[in-house]
Each structure stands twice: as structure tokens, then as C-alpha cells.
Amino acid sequence: MSEKINILRASCPMPTLDFDVITLGHGSGGLLMNKLLDSGVFDVLKNDLLDERHDGAIFEMPAGKMAFSTDSYVVSPVFFPGGNIGELAVNGTVNDLAMCGAAAKYLSLGFILEEGLTMQAFWDILISIKHAAEKAGVKIVTGDTKVVERGKGDQIFINTSGIGSVHPRADIAMRRVKPGDKIIVSGNIATHGIAIMSVREGLEFETTIESDTCNLNHTVLALLDEFGEQVHLLRDPTRGGVASVLNEVARDAKLGVEIHQKAIPVIEEVYGACELLGLDPLYVANEGVFLAIVEAAIADDFLKKLKTLEYGEAAAIIGEVVEAHPRQVIMHSHIGGRRVVNMLVGEQLPRIC
């Protein structure tokens, strides 16, 4: 946590620009845009490949398999407890690559800015992108900036795509999931979703719950160094939460999944907020958590190692893959009952009473 607070508070003075808000001119390709890029984006994100200022980045490919992933970020509000859209956009794609067993190497960065976004907000987001990229050890090597008219966007949307080299011992695929495999969650669930909910319009509750957004690549790669092909599947349960990922596993592997409610780590405040709002933590979004499905024989060692790694201290074995009830996820409740955990239908809407 301490590291994250540093990132958020890290301040670089904003350069003097002619405007204090983004205008349509900043996306025109003309002078204004060049000034924004020169004294803003390029200067902050500086690296040898980006400095070429070509239409695309040109680089050598290492031998072996590569992974490639893309994601768009539209979070509202743009600044939320524990982070902002900038670091989310870096961490999200870095983590998607990590779930492929790959160390993210290069990212692209596409901004869609809404006319009227304050320069200060844009600057703060840019700085947190810089810090998140540095922390994850990834370079932003190409990008794009567009500005849309007021009302046609929601302050700022970001797309990042990333490319990374797959760990030589990684063999992560749905086909590798088999009965007996253990399911491990790397940290407390539902934290990000509740942090966002707590600042959404129409909801006013005071909380210190902060988003768990972070880069998981260093942790995942350290685990792959040690356990390699015995890691069968990795997934980050972002939208739709843990329940959705487990349902995808059950569906695609045509196997059953069993989880144990009392083993699933949830911070007490998050649990309380979920109770209050009528939400099920299993369906709430995460940003700094992954699920690993591993060979049963190494599960305990895997957990032990994970607990010593960055963002892994709350990790727990939450269940297993079984042959029974194929395509279904069943949870053993606190009190010893059992129930199906289904795929989320639409948006998780709060219950009325």
C-alpha cells in the first residue's frame, strides 16, 4: 500500500500551457496538439523508442512466444479512492499479459479526451501513467490523442495495448485445467468495485476503502519461475468478479468448480459495504487480484510462495476443480449448505430490501 500512496502523491510540476482545459484544438493535429504532446506526453513518458516520434514503434523481437493484449478504460469517476484511470489503464493491460504468463514489455497508449477536461486532471493522469509504467517495468512506445466535443465522452477514455514475452516455462490454457486442480485467489476480493461504488453519484457513504489497482506481473513471473507448467490457468477477475471467471472456467473446461465461502478473503469493510448495498462480493470487480488454477500437488507451496510476494499476502486456496456437476460452480456456504454460483446477469443492481 505504501508504495501506491507514493505514486499517487508523486508530483511533478505541470508545465505552463496556454489553456487550462482541453479544447478541440488539442486534437487537431496542429500547433496546440504539438505543444500538448511536446511539453506533456512525450516529455513525461520519455524513452528511446517513444523519442523517435514515428507513427509506430520499431523494435527487435526476442526469441520465443509473445503475448498481445488490448483493453479500453472508461471508469467513472476518473479519480477514485486509491487510484485513477491512468494507472488503471497501465496495470490492466500489464495484468492481462501477466495472465498469459507474459512479462509486459511495450504498451501503446490511446487517449480520447473530452473537450473541457482540465489540464491539471490530464497532467495528474499522465504522471500516474508514468509511475505505473515504471513500476511495472514497461515502456510506452506509441500512442494517439483525440479530442471529442463536450458531451461526446466522459472526460477521458484510455486504450492501452501491450506486447510481452511469454515465460519459457509457462503453458497457460483452458485445456490444461483438470479435475483435482486447486483454485487460488491472490488477495482480498471486491475491493476495487466497492471503492468505485462508494464515490458514485447517488451513493454517499464514508469509507476508507481504496481500489486495489496494481501491477501483478512481477508476482506472477516469480511464481512461473518456480512452478512453470504446473500453473494451468491464470485469470484476473475484473468486471463480473470471481464468480464470472469461475463460471467461464466451468463452462469452457466442461468441468465442475467447487469453492468454499469461508476461504474467500474479503476485507471486513468491503464485506460490510456489500451487505449494505445488497451486492455479492463474488460478482464485484477487482483490479489487483488474480485467480490461479494449479496442479494440486504444488498448491500449498504455491500459496506459501505467493504469500511472500508483492500483493500476495492475503492469498488463499478457495476451491478445486471437480468432475461432478460439469459447467457449474457450486459454493459451500458458511453454514454448510450448498448453492450454485451463476454467471452475472447484466449489471449487478442493488437489491431493494
Binding site: E201, E275, S333, I335, G337, R339, V340, L349, I352
Partner: protein, 367 residues
């Protein structure tokens, strides 16, 4: 978490269950009135832990489910055609009207907002004096005080662009309707704890006496539910009938007099149509004539054609406890939470949705 984890204590549940298994000698059919209880029974997997002789029937206590079709159509119309800011609780948004749900209306450009409190809606109204703001006030006696309070606040603050579309339903008349049904099979009730928190227990004595049926006011956590069922079965096994209070940590016999005062100030009793069940006399609350300025039904003259319910949907029988959701031919086939034919499939507290999440399990789990 204080006052919650204690009531999810597996050992306590186990003890009550053991006692329940010990004393149960015959088949009993018990209805839990409230959808929140249905949800908890299913979510915690309690049903399959009960003695096989005990059948739980899931009552009509899901306010979202019983909100009549024409009121949803009206809300959609207000949001889409009249340009009002239509606010409601989240669950209400997905309930299908005859043409669309509020969520679909929102996608078509209507200003529909999910709120957790109607007081928020009054705030929105104060901030947008040029717009009409309507709160779709659904719910049992539980949500009525907050909804009534929003009218009190708006009245006091002189907010004239706020009104409520009231669809309040009342529990005791619904219980009587269930018992009066000639096919009725219910032998005991778990009454809804939170309703009694507001209303107290007095309303239930006449039902106990008239129908000679045990009623236990019950909470929502696993310990509450299992203990409540145990208290009903204890009476049934002894051939007794009484009103008892399992939820005494929350429910005072007189309820919450302050909350009731606010409700009485704003609402009066009216006949109410229950979706899937039909009209039940004196089973709802409507805004009093002296508060008519805050009654969206009167403020906006909307003539909505009365729409027919989907004929394949047996929601009425399910809500009265005559059929289990999975006994419906459409269950899980033409009707599921993504594409609900009737309201009980929409809300997570609806019996059909609860079963959909439940009886699709391996057969051993089917009730």
C-alpha cells in the same frame, strides 16, 4: 461483522438443525413471506439441510415482483415520453413492463437513475428545478417510511417538482389472501422481520386466531431462519398456534411509532393489484388526497392501455405458493433472468430467480 457474523455461526445453525430434525415427525408446509428470506434460504443452501418432511413455500413478499405491469408501463412512459427524471431502487429497473423495462428506457435515452434513498431524489429535484423528478416508490411496509419522509422533506422545503409513483403493498392482507385461497396448503408462517420492525406485531394476532395458524416473526440470517422454522415446527408438532417473535433483537412489539407516524401522515390504505395475484382489498398504500401534489399518479395524466400478462407465466401460482418455480413449463427454458417472462424471475428475491440459481444444480441439490 458485529451482529451479522454471530447470526451466521455454523455451530449454532447446526444445533438448531439437529433439534429440528429431532422433533419433526410429520410433513409440514411452511411459507416464508418475504423474498429476502427466500433469497437467504437459497443463498446459504439452507433448504437442503432441512428435514425432508418440511416444505418451504416461497411467499409473495418480493415487492419488485408484485408491482403491477401497468405501473411499470407508467414509469416507463413518464421517463421516456414526459421527460421526467425517474428514480428508483436498482432491482426495479430490470422488471419487464409490457413493452420494455426501465433499463431499456434508459438505453433509449430516458433519464432513469438508481438510488439508495428517496431523499436523494428530493435533492435531485431541488438541484433541477426545471425538471420533474419522480421516485418510483415500491416496497412493503419496510420502505414506506423513507418514501413518506421524502414527501415530508419535499413539502417542508417547498420542492414542487418532486412526486412519487407509489406502489406500496402490505403483508397481512397478502397472508390472508394466501390462506383464503381454496387450494391453500400453508400450515405455518415465517413473518417478515423487517416489516414488523416498522409495524410491530399487533396485526398478526387476528390472523393467528382466525386461521389457527402459527406465525413466527423471523429475521434473515441463517441462524434466524433455522430458529424461526424450528419455532413454527415446535408449535405444529404440539398442535398449537401462537404469534412468536424470533427477531426480538430488532422487532419491538409496537414496531417503530415514529416511522408509523410518518407513514400515516402521507399514505392511506387502498385496494392494490398484485402482479400475478390480482386485486387484494386494502392491501396497499397510496398518497393521501391532502398530499396529492406529490402523487405522480395524479400529477401526470397518463392513460396506459391495460396490458396482458404473458400467458405462459404462472407467476400467480408461484407467488401464492401453489406451484414451485421449477414446476413451470417455461422455467429455465423460455424464461430465465436474462429474458424473464414474469417478475419473480427478475429480482434476486423473486422465487423463480432464486430457484434458477439453485435447482439447475446437480439433482442431489434439487428441492
Amino acid at each position: 461483522m458485529k451482529y451479522i457474523t454471530e447470526y451466521r455461526d455454523p455451530h449454532l445453525v447446526e444445533r438448531y438443525l439437529a433439534e429440528l430434525h429431532r422433533i419433526t415427525t410429520r410433513p409440514w408446509t411452511i411459507m416464508e413471506v418475504c423474498g429476502g428470506q427466500t433469497h437467504s434460504l437459497v443463498k446459504n443452501g439452507i433448504l437442503q439441510l432441512l428435514p425432508s418432511q418440511i416444505t418451504m413455500v416461497h411467499g409473495p413478499g418480493c415487492p419488485v415482483c408484485v408491482t403491477p405491469l401497468h405501473l411499470i408501463d407508467k414509469a416507463v412512459h413518464l421517463a421516456l415520453e414526459k421527460g421526467v427524471i425517474l428514480c428508483s431502487y436498482g432491482d426495479m429497473l430490470r422488471v419487464p413492463g409490457s413493452k420494455m423495462s426501465l433499463l431499456e428506457a434508459k438505453a433509449k435515452g430516458a433519464d432513469v437513475r438508481v438510488l439508495y434513498s428517496p431523499l436523494e431524489a428530493v435533492k435531485i429535484a431541488a438541484e433541477h428545478p426545471d425538471r420533474e423528478v419522480v421516485f418510483f416508490a415500491v416496497g412493503f411496509e419496510t420502505t414506506a417510511p423513507a418514501n413518506a419522509l421524502s414527501v415530508v422533506h419535499a413539502h417542508r422545503a417547498g420542492v414542487k417538482n418532486y412526486s412519487i409513483l407509489a406502489s406500496h403493498v402490505l403483508v397481512p392482507p397478502a397472508m390472508e389472501a394466501v390462506l383464503d385461497d381454496e387450494e391453500g396448503i400453508i400450515q405455518g408462517f415465517l413473518a417478515a422481520g423487517h416489516v414488523c420492525t416498522i409495524m410491530g406485531m399487533d396485526e398478526y394476532y387476528p390472523i393467528v386466531e382466525k386461521y389457527k395458524i402459527p406465525i413466527v416473526v423471523t429475521g434473515f440470517e441463517p441462524v434466524d431462519l433455522v430458529q424461526g422454522i424450528l419455532m413454527v415446527v415446535e408449535q405444529l408438532e404440539k398442535g398449537e398456534y401462537r404469534l412468536e417473535n424470533q427477531y426480538s433483537r430488532v422487532v419491538h412489539p409496537n414496531g417503530n411509532p415514529e416511522a408509523r407516524k410518518v407513514v400515516e401522515q402521507i399514505f392511506e390504505t387502498t385496494d392494490r393489484e398484485w402482479r400475478g395475484v390480482g386485486n387484494i382489498p386494502n392491501s396497499g398504500w397510496e398518497v393521501r388526497p391532502e398530499m396529492a401534489a406529490f402523487n405522480a399518479n395524479l400529477k401526470f395524466h397518463v392513460n396506459i392501455e391495460k396490458a396482458e400478462e404473458n400467458k405462459d407465466c404462472i407467476a400467480g401460482q408461484v407467488l401464492k405458493g401453489l406451484k414451485k418455480p421449477h414446476e413451470c413449463p417455461m422455467f429455465g427454458k423460455g424464461c430465465n433472468p436474462q429474458n424473464p417472462l414474469g417478475a419473480p424471475m427478475v429480482s434476486s428475491e423473486g422465487a423463480c430467480a432464486a430457484y434458477y440459481h439453485f435447482s439447475r444444480v446437480a439433482e442431489e441439490l434439487a428441492v
